[in-house]
C-alpha cells in the first residue's frame, strides 16, 4: 500500500548500529542527498571511543544523527523522530533519546540471542512491552539485503555489509530524497570493485523499493521536507575540520605567507592535520612532530623564519604547549593555536564534546601572558573564524588561540561558499634594515597597534638576537631593568587589549539590545541557545541572544551591552568559565547554566531556564 506523503517542517533521524555497520557512511550519504535537495541541516556523528570494539557490544555502537528541515536548522535536534537500530546494542544505547511516539526501525535479523546477550538484554525487548511508547517497525534487514544482492556472488559477510545501503534506501524513500547522488558516490568509491558497487546499489534500490511497495504498518508514512529559505549562492556540506583548514589556508593567501603547521595527532583535532596534509597544492607544509611541544616549537620556529606558524591539538596537548606559548607571547611572533576541545579533565572523554578549555586559553600560562582568544560556533563559521585568527596574529604579532570543539569538528552543515575574492587581504611586510649606522631594533613597534615589526632571517641588515628573557623596550636586548619590565608587561597587555577596537562591535543575535534577559553564549552552544531563544521569543518572552566570538579581548561595547539587561545567563558545556571572565571584566551578575556530560545542550534545557528567568 502506497503511503501518503506528509509535509513536515523538519525531522530528526538517528542511525545507530555497530561500528562495523557503516553508520557514519549511511549518515553522511543521507546528509549529502538532503543537502542537495536544499533543506537546511545539522549533523552529529557519535563515534565510540574504541577503534573497533568487539562487534555487538554497547561500547561498539556508532551513531549518526541528522536534523533537517525547510527552515533554518541550528542544532542536531533534542530528540530523534526516527531511530534506526541495526542491532540490540544500538537499540539499548539509543532508545532513551527517541521522542515518545517516534518511529523505531529495527533489523530483527541482528536480534540473535548472542547479540542480545552482548548488549546486556536478558530478554528480547522486541518481545516485551518496553518499546510500547514508540512506533516499532521490525524488518529483517539482514535477510532482505542478502536477497537483494544475491546476484553479485558475494560471500555472506560481504553481502551483509550492504545492509546499511538497504536502510539508507528505505530512509531516502521515506523522506523523499534522491538516490542519484548516493549511486554516483558508490560507483566512484568502488570503481575498481564493480561487484561491490553493484551490490550496494542493488541494496539501496531494494530498500527504496521496499518503502514503495511493502505492506507496512499504517504508521509508516512518507514525508516531504522542503528546501529552506536560503540566500542565493553555491552551497556545500562541510565539517568544522574542513572549513577550519580552508580558513587557515585562506589566511595564508590573504597574508601572503606560507603556512607551516606543526601538529601531533590527537582526537578530535587530527582531521585538521589530515586535511592540511592534503593541501600541498596550496603550498601548505605540515609537520607531524614527535609531540605537542615540538609541534608548537616548530610552528614558532617557522614564524621566526617568516611563515605563518600554526599548531593544532586538543586539551591535553594544549596543556603541553603552555610553556612554548609563553615564549611566543614574549618574543611577539604570530601563531595560530587551534584547540579542538574534548571532554576533560586529563584524558577525559576524547570522543565527547565540551568547552572546558576556556580557562586554559585565557589564563593557562605562567606570568602575565595575555593572548587573543577566538571561538568558532558552527562548522561553516570555522572558515571565517580561522581567517580572523590569522589576521589578528600577523597584524598584532601575537599567538592567537582559536577554540573549536569535537562537536563542530565532526559535524556537518550546508554552508554557503564565500566569495574568496571579496575577502580583504592583510598582506604582511617584513622589517627593513635600518639606515646605515643605526642599530636594528627588533622590538620597534607600530604606534597604533603596538605590534613590533617582523624581521625575517635571510634579509641583510635585520640580524638580531631575541629570546624568552625580558627584552629592552628600546633595543630588544636582554634587560633585567625593573622599569623596563613594567613597561614591557604593560605594553604586552595594552597591545592585546587594543585589539578590542579592531574587531566588530558585539551584536545581538536575536532580540532587543537591552531588556530583561540576555542569554550569552560562545562556541558550539550557538545552535541550541539560538533555537531556545527563538522558541522563547515565539512564546512572547523578552529574551535576547548574544553570541560572543571574541573572548579575549571582548568587543569594546560588550560591557555596556550586557549591563543593559536585567539578567544575564551563560549556558556553557563546562562548570562556568565564560561566566568567570564576564563577571571579572564587567562586574555583572552573569549566572551560569552548566552542562558537563560530553553531550551538546538540548534546546529544551535552555528553554527551561529561559522560562524560569524571563518570567520570574
Amino acid at each position: 500500500m502506497a503511503s501518503d506523503v506528509q509535509v513536515l517542517e523538519s525531522a530528526v533521524v538517528r542511525f545507530a548500529g555497530d561500528s562495523g555497520d557503516g553508520m557514519q557512511l549511511t549518515g553522511s550519504q543521507f546528509t549529502t542527498s538532503t543537502a542537495l535537495s536544499g533543506s537546511d541541516l545539522a549533523t552529529f556523528p557519535d563515534f565510540p571511543a574504541e577503534i573497533r570494539a568487539p562487534a555487538g557490544t554497547t561500547f561498539g555502537v556508532s551513531a549518526f544523527q541528522i536534523n533537517f528541515g525547510a527552515k533554518s536548522i541550528k542544532t542536531v535536534g533534542d530528540r530523534p523522530d526516527v531511530l534506526v537500530a541495526m542491532n540490540p546494542a544500538a537499540l539499548k544505547v539509543n532508545i532513551k533519546t527517541l521522542r515518545p511516539g517516534g518511529l523505531l526501525v529495527v533489523d530483527t535479523g541482528a536480534f540473535s540471542k548472542r547479540n542480545l546477550q552482548k548488549a546486556g538484554y536478558d530478554v528480547d525487548p522486541l518481545s516485551t512491552h518496553e518499546l510500547e511508547a514508540y512506533q516499532l517497525v521490525e524488518l529483517d534487514v539482514s535477510k532482505l539485503t542478502l536477497e537483494a544482492v544475491k546476484d553479485f556472488g558475494l560471500g555472506n559477510k560481504e553481502a551483509l555489509r550492504c545492509k546499511n545501503m538497504w536502510t539508507l534506501g528505505l530512509m531516502l524513500w521515506m523522506f523523499s530524497r534522491k538516490r542519484e547522488p548516493v549511486v554516483a558516490w558508490l560507483e566512484k568509491k568502488f570503481a575498481k570493485l564493480p561487484d561491490i558497487a553493484g551490490a550496494n546499489v542493488a541494496a539501496l534500490n531494494a530498500g527504496h523499493a521496499f518503502g514503495e511497495t511493502a505492506e507496512l504498518s499504517v504508521h509508516f508514512k512518507r514525508y516531504q521536507i522542503g528546501a529552506t529559505h536560503s540566500e542565493p549562492g553555491i552551497y556545500k556540506t562541510v565539517t568544522g575540520s574542513q572549513a577550519l583548514s580552508w580558513g587557515i589556508t585562506a589566511g595564508g593567501e590573504l597574508s601572503g605567507l606560507p603556512i607551516v603547521l606543526g601538529s601531533y595527532p590527537i582526537t578530535p583535532a587530527s582531521p585538521i592535520l589530515h586535511t592540511l596534509s592534503n593541501m600541498k597544492e596550496l603550498g601548505v607544509v605540515t609537520f607531524q612532530a614527535e609531540d605537542e611541544i615540538a609541534a608548537i616549537c616548530a610552528a614558532i620556529g617557522a614564524a621566526y623564519g617568516g611563515a605563518l606558524g600554526v599548531t593544532s591539538s586538543s586539551g591535553p596537548g594544549i596543556a603541553l604547549k603552555g610553556e612554548a606559548l609563553g615564549l611566543a607571547i614574549s618574543i611577539e611572533l604570530p601563531l595560530v593555536v587551534i584547540n579542538s576541545q574534548r571532554g576533560g579533565p586529563s584524558t577525559g572523554l576524547p570522543t565527547k564534546t565540551e568547552q572546558s578549555d576556556l580557562y586554559q586559553a585565557i589564563y593557562g600560562r605562567n606570568g602575565d601572558a595575555p593572548l587573543p582568544v577566538i571561538a568558532t560556533r558552527s562548522p561553516g563559521d570555522c572558515f571565517e573564524a580561522a581567517i580572523e585568527a590569522c589576521r589578528i596574529a600577523v597584524k598584532y604579532m601575537t599567538p592567537v588561540m582559536l577554540l573549536t570543539d569535537g562537536f563542530i569538528a565532526n559535524a556537518a552543515e550546508p554552508w554557503k561558499l564565500p566569495d574568496l575574492d571579496k575577502i580583504e587581504p592583510f598582506k604582511v611586510t617584513f622589517a627593513e634594515a635600518p639606515e646605515e649606522g643605526l642599530e636594528f631594533n627588533p622590538f620597534k613597534r607600530d604606534e597604533v597597534t603596538l605590534a613590533r615589526h617582523w624581521p625575517k632571517p635571510g634579509v641583510p641588515g635585520t640580524e638580531h638576537r631575541i629570546g624568552g628573557i625580558e627584552k629592552s623596550f628600546d633595543s630588544g636586548h636582554i634587560s633585567y631593568d625593573p622599569e623596563n619590565h613594567q613597561k614591557m608587561t604593560d605594553t604586552r597587555v595594552g597591545k592585546i587589549d587594543g585589539i578590542a577596537n579592531d574587531i566588530p562591535a558585539q551584536g545581538v543575535d536575536q532580540g532587543e539590545d537591552s531588556g530583561t534577559l540576555a542569554v550569552v553564549g560562545w562556541g558550539s552552544t550557538y545552535g541550541p541557545i539560538s533555537e531556545a531563544v527563538k522558541a522563547g521569543r515565539e512564546e512572547g518572552l523578552k529574551v535576547s541572544h548574544i553570541h560572543i566570538r571574541y573572548l579575549n579581548p571582548f568587543p569594546a561595547n560588550l560591557g555596556e551591552l550586557l549591563a543593559s539587561f536585567d539578567k544575564v545567563i551563560v549556558p556553557e558545556m563546562n562548570t562556568g568559565q565564560l561566566k568567570t571572565v564576564l563577571r571579572d571584566k564587567f562586574l555583572i551578575d552573569a549566572k551560569p547554566l552548566n552542562k558537563v556530560s560530553g553531550q551538546p545542550f538540548k534546546i529544551q534545557e535552555i528553554l527551561d531556564v529561559i522560562h524560569a528567568e524571563a518570567s520570574s
Partner: protein
C-alpha cells in the same frame, strides 16, 4: 645552499661578533668555542643574514647573543624543534643549534633524537660540561657516576649517557667530537658539520670552571693530549700517542676495539684499523672508547653518511611537486555542491 655560494672574502671575525658583552664566567670553556665559531664562519664563506643560531636554555645556550647573525634563544630543551620549523619555513638558511648536556640530553633528549632521526639539515653543537652550569651545578645525564652536586650530595647513582652513542642510536647521519681546548681541530669539525646536508651532531667537550672544573682535565692537559686523544680522519690509520705508536685494533675474540702498541707483541701498523667514517658499527665503538685507562677519547668525524635527501628537502619536495596544481577556490567549490538561485519555499 650557502656552502655553494662564493665565499664572502671580505667578512672577518669582527663581522660575526655581536656588540653584546659576553657574560660567561671568566675562564669558561664557552669562550673558546665562541671565538672559534666567529673565526671559522668567515672561512666557510657564509653570510651573516643567512646564518641563524638557535639555542635552548643554559650557559651554553647564551651563545646566539654573541653572534652577529640571526639568533634565537628559545626555551629549555626545545631548540631542535624550533630549528626544524625554521628550516621548514626557509630551507635556505644555515641553522646552527647550540645546546648543553642538560638542555639537549635531559629535558630535550626527545627533540634531539627526532631531529637526528629525521636528518633535518641542522648543525647541532652540544656543549658537554657534564653539569648544569646555569642553575648552579646540579648533576646532568652526562655527569660521571658518583658526582656530588647540590641535588646529589652523596654522589649521583645513575650511569652517564654517552652523547655519541645516543646520537647514533637515534639514527644520526653525522656525528663528530671535539673539545674546547682544541682550537686547531674545532674549525675543521665545524666546516664538516656545515658542509653536511642533514643533521650534523657535534659533541664539544667543554669545561665549566665553576661547577665542574677539570671534568676533562684527564684528556686536555698538555702532557696527556697525545695519549688521551685520538684524532680520526676518514681513510687513515687510527694512530695516536706522542710517538704515534699506539693504535686501535678490533679484537675478534672480545668482539671489541682495543689499544695496541706498535712493536709490542708483534703488532705492526697493519694491525691497526683504518678509519671508515661511513661505518656505523665502527663509529659506535669509537665513540665509546675512553672508558679504560689506556684508551683514548676519539675526536673528529666519527660517522658521516650523506643521505640522498635531507628531511626538509623531502618534505618540501613533496610540496613542490604538487604546489600550484589547484587553487583554494577549486578545492572549496569542487565536490558535491548545489546552487540556490533564488529564495525558495517548500
Amino acid at each position: 645552499m650557502n656552502e655553494l655560494s662564493a665565499p664572502k672574502a671580505n667578512l672577518t671575525i669582527k663581522d660575526f661578533t655581536s656588540d653584546q658583552e659576553v657574560r660567561w664566567c671568566p675562564g669558561c670553556g664557552d669562550y673558546a668555542i665562541l671565538k672559534c665559531m666567529q673565526r671559522t664562519l668567515p672561512e666557510m664563506g657564509v653570510t651573516r643574514e643567512n646564518t641563524v643560531f638557535v639555542s635552548g636554555i643554559g650557559c651554553s645556550s647564551r651563545f646566539p647573543y654573541y653572534m652577529n647573525t640571526y639568533g634565537f634563544h628559545t626555551i629549555h630543551g626545545r631548540a631542535p624543534a624550533v630549528a626544524t620549523g625554521l628550516k621548514l619555513a626557509n630551507p635556505e638558511l644555515d641553522v646552527w643549534v647550540v645546546t648543553g648536556d642538560g638542555d639537549g640530553l635531559s629535558i630535550g633528549g626527545n627533540h634531539l633524537m627526532h631531529a637526528l632521526r629525521r636528518d633535518v639539515d641542522l648543525n647541532i653543537l652540544l656543549f658537554n660540561n657534564k653539569i648544569y652550569g646555569l642553575t648552579k651545578g646540579q648533576y646532568s645525564p652526562t655527569s660521571d657516576l658518583g658526582t656530588r652536586s647540590p641535588s646529589t650530595p652523596q654522589g649521583s647513582v645513575d650511569p652517564a649517557l654517552n652523547p655519541i652513542s645516543f646520537a647514533l642510536g637515534s639514527g644520526a647521519h653525522f656525528v663528530a667530537r671535539t673539545v674546547d681546548t682544541a682550537q686547531k681541530h674545532m674549525p675543521g669539525v665545524f666546516k664538516r658539520a656545515h658542509a653536511f646536508k642533514g643533521a650534523s651532531f657535534v659533541e664539544i667537550l667543554q669545561n665549566c670552571i665553576v661547577y665542574n672544573d677539570a671534568a676533562w682535565k684527564g684528556i686536555t692537559e698538555k702532557n696527556v693530549v697525545a695519549d688521551k686523544q685520538l684524532l680520526v680522519e676518514h681513510g687513515e690509520k687510527m694512530l695516536f700517542g706522542a710517538e704515534r705508536n699506539k693504535g686501535i685494533r678490533f679484537n675478534a675474540q672480545k668482539f671489541a676495539l682495543e689499544v695496541v702498541v706498535i712493536g709490542e707483541g708483534g703488532i705492526t701498523e697493519d694491525d691497526v684499523l683504518t678509519h671508515d667514517e661511513t661505518n656505523l658499527q665502527l663509529a659506535r665503538m669509537l665513540g665509546e672508547l675512553g672508558g679504560q685507562a689506556d684508551e683514548p677519547v676519539v675526536m673528529g668525524v666519527l660517522y658521516a653518511r650523506q643521505a640522498e635527501h635531507s628531511y626538509t628537502d623531502a618534505v618540501l619536495g613533496q610540496v613542490a611537486e604538487r604546489k600550484g596544481k589547484t587553487t583554494l577556490k577549486d578545492i572549496m567549490y569542487g565536490g558535491q555542491t548545489w546552487e540556490v538561485s533564488e529564495t525558495i519555499t517548500s
